[in-house]
């Protein structure tokens, strides 16, 4: 296993007092925190910094670490504990799930899951709660109307003999109707395993609506671009338009304008308040001038109609 120089990671000397260590940790934690850091390796660095602070903030752990550092801190060929060395602060018989992301070095010498769980749950030392997991679940707009059963494949981190392994898991989940983008669904006990089934972590699914080839989402409303020819917009027309669950007839009134939205009530997405609406967004599509006859007819129209859309600018 590789030795971790926690002083170097926190960029402090080995004589630094707790105040200095805390200050260094805060500075680096803010710099590398996964929620804010733009650094490409931010998450990894954050774990390292947190691991280092976890040991150096604790007087007993720090004393033990200093001992280990004296013994083999400069070793480059891998690190082993001194013969007969026994930690008084760790109980590495059971793996610490809370520190599941920490290094093998930490987990071998400083993992104190048993202590944490005893104090937090008031139960035996060998009980521990599995980690909660979170993953995104792509959902099609159509599936939100009536709900859908989705097959799910994911990996669960499991510790075996100080080694982190990813175990593949498959589930079938019924997604309720009316879920919105970004909403969370909880699957109780489907996260990382705990010491008992009832202590398994939970799996959280974050709903991500898949972009639709025809519809845009605006809250619980759907927007459909509706191209019309100039004469359809001017004279009006009855059209069949697509909705999420079929087709509906829509009356385009005469004198419709580009950018105008026609509401088809109740044909949007399902939500807590009921159904949203489908908004058909009119766009006037000018046909290309391909022959002289068309050009002549446009010319005639221009002669007959003196309308000037820029009249208010003069």
């Amino acid at each position: 296993m590789k030795f971790k120089d926690y002083y170097q990671i926190l960029q402090v000397s080995d004589t630094a007092d707790l105040k200095k260590i805390k200050k260094a940790y805060r500075k680096l934690a803010l710099k590398y925190h996964p929620d804010t850091s733009p650094e490409p390796d931010g998450e990894e660095r954050f774990k390292e910094v947190t691991e280092a602070y976890e040991v150096l903030k604790d007087t007993k752990k720090r004393a033990e670490y200093d001992e280990l550092r004296l013994y083999g801190g400069s070793s480059t060929d891998g690190f082993d504990a001194p013969p007969g060395w026994q930690s008084t602060t760790s109980n590495n018989q059971y793996q610490d799930n809370e520190h599941g992301d920490f290094s093998e070095f930490f987990n071998s010498f400083f993992a104190d899951r048993a202590q944490n769980h005893q104090s937090s749950q008031g139960q035996g030392a060998d009980l521990f709660k599995g980690q909660d997991l979170e993953m995104e679940l792509p959902v099609f707009l159509e599936e939100t109307l009536f709900g859908a059963t989705k097959a799910l494949d994911y990996h669960v981190p499991v510790f075996t003999n100080n080694q982190l392994q990813q175990i593949k898991k498959s589930l079938k989940v019924k997604i309720p109707a009316g879920v919105a983008d970004g909403k969370r669904i909880r699957l109780k006990g489907q996260g990382a395993p705990g010491s008992q089934d009832k202590l398994n972590g939970d799996l959280y699914l974050v709903i991500r609506l898949v972009p639709h080839p025809l519809f845009d989402v605006q809250g619980s409303n759907l927007i459909l671009s509706l191209p019309l020819t100039p004469w359809e917009a001017a004279l009006g027309i009855k059209l069949e338009i697509p909705t999420l669950d079929g087709k509906v007839k829509l009356n385009i009134p005469a004198n419709s304008r580009s950018g105008q939205k026609l509401k088809i009530k109740g044909k949007g997405l399902k939500s807590k308040k009921g159904h949203g609406d489908l908004l058909a967004l009119i766009k006037i599509d000018i046909p290309p001038l391909t022959n002289t006859e068309t050009k002549r007819l446009w010319g005639e129209l221009a002669e007959a109609e003196k309308y000037n859309p820029r009249a208010d600018r003069s």
């Binding site: 925190h33 079938k172 109780k188 599509d285």
Partner: protein, 105 residues
Amino acid sequence: MVEITLHIAIDELCKNARINQEVILEVVEYGIATPQSGETLSEWIFDLESAHWIKKAIQLNQQLLLDWVAISMVIDLMKEKEKLIQENDHLKSRLRRHRQFDLYQ
């Protein structure tokens, strides 16, 4: 088929996040999350979005050693950022469709 839930009770949330109910009370008092139902503290039930922000607040408190006022501000900004990202994605998708339409013309 796995059973799903859309909320979490305070005792379960405390057990999962390894905190006590007083911490949740503090998070609620700072406006970071609001219980969905429940008259008294021990009866509080949260929707999963609120539970997510409570856990995030506790993480920030433990990892960055920030006080609750700062955390409340950070969480507000994070929520705002999430909303803007979502809005931006929707607008980009509409703009793409609009451009496709113009190219077609």
